[in-house]
């Protein structure tokens, strides 16, 4: 048997140490994403992304067609990038399955309950301060645009009752939904719909001690039965148009669009003033170029020119104080002023998410689903 007679020298110790240091550095190369990601800044100027791909989670259908034509097609040209558009909702399980360090989307558009659920599940998103520091147009946004703590709300609509005006006097109270004249003609949504979430919280606030009084909300919703339970707001519009529903939980813009078509309907904004929001988040661990592009896309989303066009098309209100309210909403008295926005209420979605299973089960039982 041969014995290795190599001596331990100063040179060999140095070599071994160097090799070990290099080996130890390998994992940090793979984890460097985080460090880079934190260093990215954006100043609002156009830059060349060198053909990088930006993964976005955003609604599909007619929404996608419009946003592509009014925003992202030009964005791709200006920034020399490609947008990977995924509209297969829900985003929550995709984010959680892939994990925070390898985000499924670089930038995603949300309604608040789903956003809150995901935010609470891990360190997925930049906080609002980090976003504000890198998205110049946020300087012009109303303060409630940052209420989520994890993104920037760029458009919103108040929750309203949409009701038929040919079925008696105008609605002017949250409890009118329970009036005897609307028996069997009330419309609401399935338990996964954000409108139902807001209606539940507003009902708890109205009938209970506060928004956390779930039992009061369950009791009130039981009293409102039977209700027509729809999955989509546009489906509810068709029920209203046909007279199958005389009063429905809805959102301002869509309901007013029905009124503008000559259907005898009007809207009444709930006195608790909750709002349906479109909020964009930027993933904390997105790659540097993708994160910079995400800042740029959010900045473009908040441009008054896009918000005005979007408002004209879908009757959403902008959160940017420099944008204007579309003419058809302005005709109804809607304004984009500080005083017009200060009454808005954002329900405690953390509470909702925490109790979502119980709420869903109880509501399904009430609806007979």
């Amino acid at each position: 048997m041969k014995k290795d007679n190599k001596n331990v020298t100063r040179r060999s110790v140095l070599k071994t140490g160097l090799a070990l240091s290099a080996a130890a550095a390998v994992p940090s190369i793979f984890n460097i994403n985080h460090a880079w990601a934190q260093d990215v800044t954006y100043d609002g100027k156009v830059f060349d992304a060198g053909g990088a791909t930006l993964n976005i989670g955003e609604w599909g259908g007619g929404w996608e067609e419009f946003v592509r034509s009014a925003l992202t097609n030009q964005f791709e040209k200006d920034f020399n990038c490609k947008i990977n558009w995924d509209s297969s909702f829900p985003w929550f399980p995709k984010f959680v399955t892939k994990g925070a360090k390898d985000p499924v989307y670089d930038i995603a558009n949300w309604n608040l309950p789903n956003l809150t659920q995901t935010k609470n599940a891990g360190d997925f998103f930049l906080n609002t301060d980090e976003v504000r520091a890198n998205v110049p147009n946020t300087a012009n946004c109303w303060e409630f645009a940052f209420a989520s703590g994890a993104g920037v709300t760029w458009a919103y609509q108040p929750y309203v009752y949409a009701y038929r005006t040919d079925r008696g006097k105008a609605v002017n109270n949250f409890r009118d939904f329970w009036a005897a004249r609307f028996a069997n003609k009330r419309g609401t949504y399935g338990t996964e719909n954000g409108l139902m979430h807001a209606f539940f919280m507003a009902t708890a606030r109205e009938f209970g001690k506060d928004q956390y009084d779930m039992n009061a909300a369950f009791k009130a919703l039981e009293d409102a039965m039977p209700m027509k339970v729809s999955e989509f707001t546009f489906n509810m519009l068709s029920l209203l148009e046909r007279g199958e529903v005389d009063i429905a939980v809805h959102i301002e813009g869509e309901a007013l669009s029905l009124k503008q078509k000559g259907v005898p309907v009007d809207v009444w904004q709930w006195d608790s003033h909750p709002i349906l929001t479109q909020t964009k988040t930027i993933s904390r661990y997105a790659k540097p170029m993708q994160k910079k592009l995400a800042f740029a896309l959010l900045n473009r989303t908040l441009e008054p020119s896009f918000l005005n066009a979007f408002g004209d098309k879908f009757l959403w209100r902008p959160t940017n104080s420099k944008a204007t309210i579309t003419a058809s909403l302005a005709k109804e008295g809607v304004m984009n002023t500080a005083s017009a926005t200060e009454a808005f209420w954002v329900p405690d979605w953390n509470f909702f998410v925490k109790n979502k299973l119980e709420i869903t089960d109880r509501l399904n039982a009430i609806f007979g689903l």
Binding site: W59, E64, W85, D86, T97, E241
Partner: protein, 266 residues
Amino acid sequence: MGKKIPLPMMILAILGFCYMLLPIVIVVLAGLTAGEFLTFPPKGLSFRWVIAFLQSEKYLSSFFFSFKLALMTMVISTILGTAVALFLSRAQFVGRGAMRAFFLSPVVLPGVVIGFALYAFFISTGMGISRTIWGLSIGHILYSTPYVIGTVGAALASYNVSLEEAARSLGASPLRAFRKVTLPNIAQGIQAGSIFAFIVSFGQFEVSLFLSAPNSEPLPIAMYNSLRYKFDPSAAAAGIFAITLVIASVLLTNRLVNIRRLLEKQ
């Protein structure tokens, strides 16, 4: 000599068929409405939503994407499903029943479960195919193949293996015996299975929900998204084209089968 079907049974069968076909009629009429919303009965008849579908880049790209995906799924599922059905019908081993149940299990499990399980699997294994066309194809193939296994298995159950054995004893190679004797006898089952695979893939929603790739949306997902944000009848118009495609594929396949039978008779 054909057996006479009792009248009450006949009436029941006709009513049953009408009941099953009624949603198709409703979709077609809703797609031809002149109104603003997807409702039934339609408010007058018009082609405006059909034209809107044909002018929609989103719908058309989704339609053709679904078509290509279903075609690819059909080809691969047919090959895999036929091979599995042959194996299960001929191999004798302990646990054959369990293996059959295993191969058919994707049909029993909810599509959402399969879609999510595959999505999680692709991510955890680092295969890099989550939310890609390849991952989506695997999901569709997994979900469609059991239909081929079922129909080809049924064809093989009524097939007399001694025919192939006779061909072998007359000197035919295993491949030639299969191609000339077995394949023509089970062709109906294979064709039925492939049609099923195509239709199941074309209309697949739940599996696609988690696996669909960005910028490549199958038609059912595009229709769902359209209904979420715009309840206009263009989704029903898209449904008309989807139904037409499925019916055309069934008729075409039947036609091809008949032509081949005619040739065989000559």
